[in-house]
Point group: C2
Chain length 303, copies 2
């Protein structure tokens, strides 16, 4: 099934003409999860032709502006464009008041329900689960409460054998829930002939913003892809600790110890004009490191 990550923004703190703040869109079987939402994210979604009305869940890691200032605009635009489908928001508690005071000031009653789910500040738990994916939070070490998110595709899922379905003109909705299928000749086709268990379950861990934190290693171990912030290069480790951030070395060591397949880095300090400096440093410790840049798409089915 589709499991695809689009980078909408990957820069830190202060946006500029060519540097968008953190936001990512994860497509899990055509359910869309927005992860963080820096200022101007709604325009980034348009730029990459991603319908923001299809977003069902928004997860905000923490309440520094570069991770959420775009949310109220997105919520408002969804409303103005006639959305009626509910939107689930997972964030720390103060965001609820931040949204409410703004809707109240503009005398706005949203056309659609907003379901607010408060992120725990001292607990790690499953936030969401459906047939395809389970999402849980894990605690990070930043200057304010900050949460990482872990997305795991579920093993109960089955994969359609498309050839067989086409042959018998069976539409996918008829083989849901592991049911066998009665065809037009009243022959029973066993579900196992139509589907097979997925052997390659995708997983994605999102870590922004945090100091180096070894306790997350077992939580995210063996994920396909780890996004880990790398605000600073290795030489600025003291500045990283002071400001609650990580260096390239920190991120790469987490990736290595957790035995992840790919490491994506981002949330770069503005001081780095050439991001390859960060990439090369990261690769010294974990070779399968990649820079994120606006517009990048990582399709988990291709690796």
């Amino acid at each position: 099934m589709p499991f695809k990550l689009t980078i909408l923004g990957c820069d830190s703190a202060i946006p500029t003409v060519d540097k968008q703040q953190t936001a990512q869109l994860l497509n899990v079987n055509e359910r869309f999860f927005l992860i963080d939402c820096g200022e101007n994210t709604q325009v980034q979604l348009r730029k990459y032709q991603l319908s923001f009305q299809r977003i069902s869940h928004v997860l905000i890691s923490h309440l520094h502006g570069d991770h959420y200032y775009g949310l109220i605009g997105l919520i408002t635009s969804m409303h103005l464009l006639g959305r009626n489908k509910g939107l689930h928001i997972y964030a720390h508690e103060p965001l609820k008041e931040i949204i409410n005071v703004q809707l109240s000031a503009s005398n706005t009653n949203l056309n659609y329900p907003l379901f607010f789910h408060i992120l725990p500040t001292n607990d790690e738990k499953i936030l969401f689960k459906d047939d395809n994916v389970e999402i849980s939070n894990f605690l990070l070490d930043h200057t304010i409460d900050c949460s990482g998110f872990l997305f795991r595709e579920l093993s109960s899922q089955q994969k359609k054998i498309k050839e067989k379905i086409d042959e018998d003109n069976i539409t996918s909705d008829k083989i849901k829930n592991y049911a066998d299928y009665n065809n037009e000749n009243n022959q029973v086709i066993n579900n196992s002939k139509l589907t097979s268990t997925i052997s390659n379950l995708h997983s994605y861990a999102y870590c922004s913003d945090t100091r180096f934190l070894s306790r997350i290693i077992p939580i995210i171990s063996n994920v396909d892809v780890l996004y880990h912030e790398t605000t600073f290069s290795e030489e600025l480790v003291e500045r990283a600790i002071e400001t609650g951030h990580s260096t390239t070395k920190d991120a790469a060591n987490i990736a290595k110890e957790a035995n992840v397949k790919k490491l994506l880095i981002g949330h770069y300090s503005k001081r780095y004009k050439n991001l390859n400096v960060l990439l090369e440093e990261s690769k010294q410790y974990f070779n399968n490191s990649f820079l994120t840049k606006e517009g990048d798409v990582f399709d988990f089915n291709t690796f």
Copy 2:
């Protein structure tokens, strides 16, 4: 003295890749006033190489998001970039809480003082006055409390006669406050020989968002430039009234009756792909009409 307006955004409601929401920067003798602040305004300021640290006053007409969602990001970036000069904000009362809950959520204590001035909702008064300019509000007719702003250059100002100053090597700070000047030979040079009263006093009226409102005509009469929203074309007058907006005809009639020199229109509904439709309509009623578009600069000294 400089009196120059830069359009940072001139579209309504929902931002897109090439449509920025309302924001304007008025330079009055190198004091910078930001008028409204839609999402992404800080990036627009950067795009047009306008230092946002030089902004001393922000005026927010009303609390619909397309007029202020960019403010919290601007305030935060000013802080992160080390501002220590105070910032004055003129807005309706709820904005104070909106800013405070967001600063509180991120545990931010600004490096600089924020002076919040509450706009009256049933009164029209002088909001600000210095040696150069007087700014007052006037009430508009929108779906929520909304304020227009009138900028008038002050008649007490004097203009330097630059040739004379250069000849005597007199620096401008020595001839302030109408003082005569004692030169190196102890000769007294009368101030009237160094300066002359400005005969052409600039003025600017800003009206967004509002239904047609004839009572503003005497307030803004004879201004050099009127910016008046024209969300809709004439045929959608009922939609305009319903949503608290104006048509091209409304704006042009206000301009005509108020005997302004130039009319700038903006805040266009997204339905207009070709804005010349709106311009041509406006010109039917008031010939000296101009479209605003992002990046436009209107230098009041040139007309």
